[in-house]
Symmetry: C2
Subunit: 320 residues, 2 copies
């Protein structure tokens, strides 16, 4: 069973329940949130839902996107987010996913599931697209806006271990996100982390710039959560900007052009496909590494397709 | 006269001299670097160069991209970078531009031209593309990898003043780059800066994510140089990734497709145009704000076109 925080996300609960209903055609899903509201939505979306692999767990409270994580988790024990995480602890679900307040998700996961001892701070990790076969797992993508050098080193160890297990890479290569590839480049934090990584047993390659990440320069790229978040969101925003410019360009083609409509169709298809591959929709979300349980962090603006993919990915990865 | 550091940049001195020769058809250029090498290049590129608006200033030393800025500037007083900056101080040029070590350029500009008192640390500022009419001036893009909150506030004041003067905007809006738009989001640094900006006389709108920057959410967006550098380089790298995926997609069209070659041609033209608008080639570079003189920081991988544009932009902006 995959536990889903129904109230998390910019378009919750509608798209969350929609995505879950679709995924439930293949895998068992446990919807966590206000029971009555969920049941109403389920009947609207699929009157025959009761015949599917769908269970509902009541959780009347909601944690908002802007709430301070620690206070929210402490105060709202009956929230969909906290209860969904508890389902993993209690063995009702093999994994939990939420598109809600990611800070609160991390806090709840840490409090309820507990930390792995070798990682002081759980981190959000996600695979990035690249022009080559190798896709870098980048962490942290936003769980820890403040990091110290040894945190980055721990991220590197955990990222390596994960990539090694999941992709079967024997000695994954590791790079450090910086503002230049030269050893002298970086902030105080990355310079200190550079020294630690160089002394470590890891297969450390050195600094990497965003360009290198998108070329699959290494199996694992580490950074603090603020920089990682800027990296992730700038990539997504750039794609949208690019698509916008492409559409403008096509509009500029003369109306008399015989191939304008063909070009429009092609670009629509291409953009849909490209966004699917490049964006978060393909995997549905990122992983929270460093807690004793399987937690997926979905994008706040997740749509039904993203949620469906995230549930299927979680099931495939963790149901064994 | 615009002073050009001939030895700065990944493809220096070749493309730098090429770009300068092109620009010299319209504006006077002062090439700073090893005189003999420059003269040889000039004769190769344009045997009639002596009839143009080109002067040469001898500077035998070179500062490399990886050198520690302060030490390099102290040690290499006869370098092309240091001498080019000195030309502004001595009144030989109205502005200087370099595609070399940007840290060294900042140090040289600060030492030689002096700081403006209201800005403790000079910052690199550049306009970002957007889906709307408003383009945000983002700073710092990499001059200061370590910042404190009051530095960000100073960036906001200087960015506002610049935008106000150059674009004639009366009360420019200001935003703060963060990992979420909610007031509670951000690092310790941005949270402290948020409070300062809110108390200031500026037209402060709050936090902005990369997506907001590309929508022209504000006239000025401030961040530390590490985050700004990630923002800038991720945008550029994303465009390249997108172009790569687009070309792959076109290759997949069946060979028998009657419009494959037309599509290929269209995409080449489109990508060239898009990169020109989106990338640094259009303006040629970014500005160093906060020093007593006009300094343009060009991208390390600048080509001749970029250098030409940067020289023309500098002349247009500063020759009055």
């Amino acid at each position: 069973m995959i536990a889903v925080d129904v109230m998390g996300g910019d378009r919750a609960p509608g798209v969350i329940v929609q995505g879950a209903v679709r995924a439930a055609q293949k895998v068992p899903v446990l919807l966590v949130g206000p029971e009555r509201e969920i049941r109403e939505l389920l009947y609207q979306i699929d009157p025959g839902w009761e015949a599917r692999n769908i269970s509902v767990c009541d959780a009347p409270q909601v944690i908002d996107m802007g709430e301070e994580p620690v206070a929210a988790v402490r105060k709202k024990g009956a929230s969909s987010l906290v209860k969904a995480v508890s389902c993993v602890k209690e063995g009702k679900a093999v994994a939990v996913l939420s598109a809600g307040n990611s800070g609160a998700l991390m806090v709840a996961a840490t409090f309820i599931l507990g930390r792995e001892e070798s990682l002081e701070r759980p981190a959000i990790a996600g695979f990035f697209p690249s022009t080559t076969e190798r896709k870098a797992l980048v962490l942290d993508l936003g769980a820890n806006t403040e990091c110290r050098a040894h945190h980055l080193e721990q991220f590197a160890h955990h990222g390596s271990a994960y990539v090694s297990t999941v992709l079967g890479i024997e000695r994954p290569s590791v790079a450090l996100l910086a503002n230049g590839t030269e050893n002298t480049k970086g902030s105080l934090l990355t310079k200190e982390a550079f020294a630690l990584l160089q002394k470590s047993s890891l297969n450390f390659l050195g600094n990497a710039e965003p360009f290198d990440v998108f070329q699959g320069c290494a199996d694992v790229v580490v950074c603090d959560g603020f920089a990682g978040n800027v990296l992730l969101k700038t990539m997504e925003a750039s794609f949208e900007l690019f698509a916008h410019i492409m559409q403008k360009q096509i509009e500029k083609e003369p109306v008399t052009s015989v191939w304008k409509s063909q070009l429009q169709l092609w670009s629509e298809y291409f953009l849909q496909d490209a966004f699917y591959c490049l964006g978060h929709r393909k995997y549905g979300g990122a992983l929270l590494l460093g807690v004793k349980g399987n937690v997926m962090v979905c994008h706040g603006n997740s749509d039904a397709q993203t949620i469906e993919n995230a549930i299927l990915f979680a099931w495939k990865s963790f149901s064994v």
